[in-house]
């Protein structure tokens, strides 16, 4: 592997992460289907078990914590499908990860106009 300095606040989703996060991402990929979203809501523990989530993945999912899910190998495109179950959009997810209110996060985006 080529070693390059890390980019702050950023996890490159590479082979290492893809292997670590496979079960979690596979579960989130299944949420493309409405019946799977319903099955998750009906019995979260059973649904996570079906996909063989690791303990850190199960904990992060239970806590609805996006940074912890990324640390456990989650990829944001699949995690967005998880967030969608709870009606959360990418501003909500951004606010959670940056520890800001959704309003402040949106203001930060507007401020990028310069």
């Amino acid at each position: 592997m080529v070693s390059e300095p890390e980019i702050w606040g950023t996890t490159l989703f590479d082979g290492r992460q893809a292997m670590k996060g496979y079960a979690l991402n596979k579960m989130c990929y299944s949420f493309n289907h409405a019946e799977n979203r319903a099955a998750f809501l009906k019995d979260e523990a059973a649904y996570c078990a079906r996909f063989g989530l690791t303990e850190p993945q199960r904990r992060a999912v239970a806590r609805r914590n996006v940074l912890e899910m990324i640390a456990a190998g989650g990829n944001i495109y699949y995690l967005a499908k998880f967030a969608g179950i709870f009606g959360l959009n990418v501003q909500d997810v951004g606010a959670q990860q940056t520890g800001m209110s959704v309003e402040d996060f949106k203001a930060k985006l507007v401020a990028a106009r310069g």
């Binding site: 944001i76 179950i85 959009n89 507007v110």
Partner: protein, 279 residues
């Protein structure tokens, strides 16, 4: 022979699809974005392309990590959209052009670009949102040919490789032995980052520079690494590699007929370019 009549590059944010479905084009938040499109719509109306080659990236609708092609080319008679999980209502299927698809696949592989061919391919918002923006109401909707590039799992193809593949796409289309008017679409970007503590990162100066270079000096962008792009444009801002593929397909010098840039749409710096061959 087929000919490329020009190209359009646009962002493809899901929220745009939701705004179109709810007719929010005139809303204060959306107006500066949607106001960019009528000149492009008028150009397409006038130029009447028969096929749109849509260069985009799949976000976990058609491809999962079990099999992740770096470059995938559609070879279907029809491309369906489907539920992506977070609420965008699926839209009607898009017609394909299998004849051009197989010609493209044969030509690319002969040129040593070993692409994955897909006779079934669900197209996600990266494909459907731009189609909705460019052909509102599906008036004179062209046939389509999707090319998907991996931006999900690193290693991603280098910007240089993307540009070269684009050149090979342009060459392939020019050698298709049938009269056909083709427009190239690139969708994605510009700067945005959805994940991590750096979520919400947008880089206006870098986006404007990229738009300038895409027009006048695309080779300058091929000198960036993927890591550079992540740093400068955010982890999902790497989607700008689709714009480089498009620019490669146009080959020679181009004229920019129209452009727009607006911050923010959702978490993204939203860009639009309409290009025509200068020669």
């Amino acid at each position: 022979m087929a000919s490329i009549i020009g190209a359009v590059a646009t962002s493809h944010i899901p929220a745009i699809g939701a705004a179109m479905a709810r007719s929010l084009q005139g809303d204060a938040y959306w107006k500066p974005f949607f106001d960019g499109y009528p000149p492009v719509n008028a150009w397409l109306e006038r130029m009447r392309p028969e096929v749109a080659v849509v260069i985009y990236n799949d976000h976990g609708l058609n491809f999962f990590l079990d099999k992740m092609p770096t470059f995938a080319v559609g070879a279907a008679a029809e491309y369906r959209n489907a539920d992506e999980g977070w609420g965008l209502e699926p839209v009607a299927p898009f017609p394909g052009h299998p004849g051009l698809s197989w010609h493209l696949i044969e030509s690319l592989v002969a040129d040593e670009f070993d692409v994955t061919s897909c006779q079934e391919m669900l197209v996600d918002h990266g494909f459907t949102v731009p189609m909705g923006l460019l052909w509102p109401g599906r008036r004179r909707l062209p046939k389509t040919l999707p090319i998907s590039v991996n931006t999900v799992q690193h290693p991603l193809p280098t910007p240089q490789r993307c540009y070269k593949l684009g050149c090979a796409v342009g060459k392939a289309i020019a050698s298709f032995p049938q009269e056909l008017r083709v427009v190239i679409l690139a969708t994605g970007g510009l700067s945005h980052q959805l994940d991590g503590e750096r979520a919400g990162f947008i880089n206006r100066d870098f986006d404007l520079m990229c738009m300038e270079k895409i027009i006048a000096d695309p080779l300058a962008l091929t000198r960036y690494s993927i890591r550079d792009l992540v740093e400068q444009a955010g982890s999902q801002g790497v989607e700008v590699i689709t714009w480089l593929m498009m620019r490669g397909a146009l080959r020679g010098p181009v004229r920019c007929l129209h452009r727009n840039y607006h911050i923010p749409i959702s978490n993204t710096g939203a860009g639009l370019l309409l290009l025509e061959n200068a020669a």
